[in-house]
């Protein structure tokens, strides 16, 4: 996965895009890149990357989101630091963009930068979310996100999972749906996520099918210390 300088993760509400964006930022960081992670999730104040700020800072990732102290204010405000990230040519910028066409609309604000700098807009998909079991629905959503953001989606991220009930069959059946949607959209499936190596298929293990490991950060309090 050679990185363009700007990577935007979006996806329907609850698709897991924040987990994917955070893990991807850490992945770039481990490759020695300077990474800025931008939390543009204006839809929902719970379980989003702002709460991870301290942890990410320790890893050396700059997180930009709402002003400190206003994390739970349910009133999104965009920081001027986003522009400083976009204007630094040596920096990788990862965007976590909220929800749906409404959430994607905020991207229009940065349109001049996306025109000047190569970007990737990846749609994170979990077909086990209600309403997204049909490839047609994913295609429709992709088009709506493109209209709202004025950008082009150039890949799908297959995040098929049923939480702790995820098994090989769950991943395989999800992969079929995501592949069908990707074919309809004429974009590649960039990678399929996994949290447990034991669930990978043979082609995924051997290499031809790209996969991406996820370490989950947004856990409920009962799964914490």
């Amino acid at each position: 996965m050679e990185a363009e300088r700007i990577t935007i993760f979006t996806g329907p509400f609850g698709s897991g895009k924040t987990e994917v964006a955070v893990n991807y930022a850490l992945h770039l960081n481990r490759q020695g890149q300077r990474v800025g992670l931008v939390d543009l999730d204006i839809v929902n104040p719970y379980f989003r990357s702002r709460s991870l700020a301290r942890q990410l800072k320790e890893e050396g990732i700059d997180l930009v989101s709402t002003q400190p102290g206003l994390e739970m204010a349910d009133l999104p405000a965009l920081s001027p630091r986003i522009f400083s990230f976009l204007q630094s040519p040596d920096r990788q910028v990862v965007f976590d963009v909220g929800g749906d066409p409404t959430g994607a609309r905020v991207l229009g604000r940065f349109q001049p930068y996306f025109q000047a700098t190569p970007y990737r807009l990846w749609l994170v998909v979990n077909p086990y979310r209600p309403g997204y079991q049909e490839p047609e629905r994913l295609v429709k959503l992709a088009r709506e996100v493109e209209t709202a953001s004025r950008l082009q989606i150039n890949g799908l991220i297959d995040n098929s999972n049923l939480g702790q009930l995820t098994d090989r069959r769950v991943r395989a059946e999800g992969a079929e749906l995501v592949t069908a949607a990707a074919e309809r959209l004429r974009v590649p499936v960039v990678f399929r996520t996994y949290t447990d190596q034991a669930l990978l298929t043979e082609p995924e293990r051997a290499g031809p099918e790209p996969v991406f490991p996820l370490k989950l950060f947004m856990r409920p309090p009962w799964e914490g210390e």
Binding site: Y46, D74, Q164, P220, P221, W222, E223
Partner: protein, 354 residues
């Protein structure tokens, strides 16, 4: 696909639809907004009505209208919004109108914050509105129970002709878990008491809570109390996990019970005898089992995200037969597994190991 990943709020909304709910009236407030958002999209697909009212007061009175006409009707809100609905809830009970009310509680008092909280327990179980009344109150412990209990709530609301409340909190509403959805049910609004026209009967049906003559009002209240007594006798639900041979029984519901469960599983690995008693109905409260455990010599720890509300019902239930300790976190924070673990450890008798 048989299973889907759903947020707790979405699970409540879809669970209601599957149970035949075809009317939703509400007003937005975080952290329950996924419910009206979901309903706005979903209700038209099943031929139902979604209406965003101009206020919570208005929404609860629309519930009165739809419920009085026999429809399965839902409203949802969060703490300050539920306070606004109290007058309407009292009227719904008085007029014996079935409906389901969801409270995805947040921190209070006042405007409070968006953080999860269990400080609306008194309001839900002791009656936040005026008059002698009770609501059947369910407290789901996971996303699957959101689906199952809201389905049950609609059935019970109709069976007793009484409002039923689902009391949950911001974390339970926002967390995502796999759920299995039941088939879609269609439930006819045609009820013998519903105000849907006389249809040849000599007397019209009346939905009203007025008892202007003293004796009439007494008769209405006697009838209501008899109904609440039946609910208290027949509707208690709880989960008891390892309470029989426990040295200490922890009582907790909702988010707190999830944290307690994690602490208990650590303690059991260390061979400590700790049980969990999780009320699923907050009213009627599982008094009987608590009284029996107290009589068997158990000690109790109550964990809540409040200054101590359900603990009063635990104390009433054990009635001086056992020691009850309380551990609460005030609105804004959630108890950690470590905090609960430490608190339990401090209460276990020396040599509590097997």
């Amino acid at each position: 696909m048989e299973r889907v990943m759903m947020k707790g709020n979405e699970a409540l909304a879809e669970g209601a639809i599957r149970a035949g709910c075809r009317f939703f009236f509400g007003y937005p407030i975080t952290p329950q907004n996924e419910i009206p958002e979901y309903m706005a999209r979903r209700m038209p697909e099943v031929g139902g009505v979604f209406l965003q009212a101009e206020s919570e007061v208005s929404a609860i009175n629309m519930v009165y209208g739809a419920g009085g006409a026999g429809g399965r009707v839902l409203t949802s809100s969060s703490s300050p919004g539920i306070s606004l609905k109290q007058e309407g809830i009292s009227y719904l009970v008085g007029a014996q109108v079935p409906c389901v009310i969801v409270n995805v509680a947040r921190g209070g008092p006042g405007l409070g914050g968006l953080t999860p909280s269990q400080s609306d327990y008194f309001q839900a179980t002791k009656g936040g509105g005026h008059g002698d009344y009770r609501l059947l109150v369910y407290a789901p412990g996971n996303a699957q129970e959101m689906v199952d209990l809201i389905g049950l709530a609609f059935d019970k609301a109709e069976a007793y002709r009484n409002p039923v409340m689902i009391l949950t909190d911001a974390i339970m509403g926002q967390m995502m878990e796999p759920v299995v959805l039941p088939p879609l049910r269609e439930v006819s609004p045609d009820k013998p008491w519903a105000t849907t026209g006389k249809k040849g009967r000599s007397k019209p049906n009346l939905i009203n809570s007025l008892g202007i003559v003293g004796e009439d009002l007494e008769r209405i209240n006697v009838e209501l109390q008899a109904k609440f007594a039946r609910m208290a006798a027949d509707e208690v639900r709880y989960e008891a996990d390892g309470v029989e041979d426990a040295d200490l029984v922890v009582v907790a519901y909702g988010t707190s019970s999830r944290v307690v469960r994690s602490a208990i599983s650590r303690l059991r690995q260390e061979k400590k005898k700790v049980g969990l008693l999780r009320p699923v109905t907050l009213w009627p409260f599982p008094q009987q089992i608590l009284a029996e455990l107290a009589a068997a010599g158990k000690r109790f720890l109550v964990v809540e995200m409040s200054a101590g509300q359900m603990v009063e019902d635990v104390i009433l239930s054990v009635n001086d037969r056992a020691k009850v300790t309380f551990f609460g976190k005030l609105n804004g924070t959630v108890p950690t597994v470590k905090e609960v673990y430490d608190r339990i450890m401090s209460l276990l008798p020396e040599g509590g190991e097997e």
